[in-house]
Amino acid sequence: MKGLMHRIVRGLDWFLFESCDPRVVPILRIGFALMIIIQALVLWPDAGYWFTDSGVMRTQTAREILGPGSWSLLYYLPSEPWVVQSALAIWIVNGALMLVGFYSRVQAAAIFVWLVSFQNRNPSIHDGEDTVFRIFAFLMVWLPLDAYWSIRKRGESLEPRQDSKNRADRSVGRCVAADAWALRLFQVQMTAIYASTALSKLEGSTWNDGTAVWYVSRMTDNFGRWISASWLDQPYASELATYGTLAIECFLPFGLWIPRLRWLAICLGVLLHLGIEFSMNLFLFQWVMILGLIAFVKLPTRVCSNT
């Protein structure tokens, strides 16, 4: 029993502390910060409209819709447009500081609080994309965000690390695999999304008879960005798109975890999201999902002749 526990803990330690590539973290940081700034800028002109009592939803209504467990800083601040715009301004500053890598973990924590606060203040304008942003912000807090490409670590390059050098890397302030354990939580989160949607789709009659994407193409408010709905008029096109989507979403929860299949899974995932991005107007959802797939990337190790 003791031996089994020891092996479980050893396996967990390998999973969390020894097998992630911390060099992808700055890519996550920069991509996330850019998108979070865009989010705030889009909300800015309608701050009073969405988030004050003189707008479309009163604070009391938001609380009734979400129940007693919800919280938001905006519940307690004065319900005035200038207050909301001030909060958005701080949010944008947090995003900008994260973008350049200035105490990014603190910025991530602040962004998480803002995201929860704004999403809970008006749940009617938010959707799954906002949930992904919120969870990612929370996970960012635990990543070594400023280890590379940040104003706090200027000149730091993405060089390979060997486990035997971990101690030395730490001593010079560099990042090692053990610091990037929260990447595993990103990976679990992404897997859960794909598995959940695949399981839900497997129950749907239109996903089983190959017509689901035809129906999606008739969602004319969202569909038809650069791919016309008429492209899916041919039954084989609709079936290909439907079964292709279903196959990729069923494959990703497994493929992303199998080292030999990981790159294939990441490429298929990116293709899926780009396909949706080109055909539908869903704001930043596809881009934040692509960002999440980057958490699975292991960059190739470069051989340095001078080491």
Partner: protein
């Protein structure tokens, strides 16, 4: 000590996420989900399952329409953006508006607030178009300008759905027959 805390927190996070994202159709997990979700909500980490166009896509095309009457009883109509005709750029920077109009049917409380907002916002902050009126002898009269305050607002969703007969093959885009269903959402009256 730090390592132990990370181990425990990571395992708890993974278990919480996996339970919370399990589709609601998996009934045996229902009780556990009902317990886990509120805990995650308090932490700001709730998400629920991910039914992206599942189990079947739901057509949600259409516009929100508000029928108003002003202080003199003159009728007017407010209509939301017709998103089908909006440009890709408009759909991007006004995405929140599109999302809101599509989701307003889901929550009655939100619709009530929106009806109340329109009652107070027309004509200063929101523009509405005067409707044709009928005289007492049934003659058609030109629309009258709206005189605030607005007395009553009735909010509707004009939902466009596809007409499909049983056994019929899925029609081509230009042959698709659309029908409009009108769903009442909410009403707001001025206090006497």
């Amino acid at each position: 000590m730090k390592k132990i805390a990370i181990r425990i927190a990571s395992v708890l996070f993974c278990i919480g996420v996996l339970i919370d994202t399990t589709p609601e159709s998996i009934l045996w997990l229902w009780r556990t989900k009902a317990w886990v979700h509120p805990v995650l909500e308090r932490l700001g980490l709730s998400q629920g399952d991910w039914p992206l166009f599942a189990p079947n896509p739901v057509l949600n095309n259409g516009v929100i329409v508000a029928e108003l009457s002003d202080r003199n009883g003159n009728p007017a109509t407010w209509t939301s953006t017709d998103w089908e005709k909006a440009s890709a750029w408009t759909k991007f920077y006004r995405f929140r508006h599109m999302n809101y109009h599509q989701r307003l049917t889901n929550t009655h409380l939100a619709a009530v607030d929106f009806a109340e907002y329109l009652r107070l916002a027309v004509p200063d902050r929101e523009s509405a178009v005067g409707s044709i009126r009928w005289s007492q002898d049934n003659q058609m009269l030109d629309p009258a300008p709206i005189e605030p305050p607005v007395r009553e607002v009735k909010l509707y969703k004009y939902r466009n759905s596809i007409v499909l007969e049983e056994g019929q093959a899925l029609p081509r885009l230009e042959q698709t027959i659309w029908s409009t269903q009108i769903n009442f959402l909410a009403r707001s009256d001025a206090q006497p």
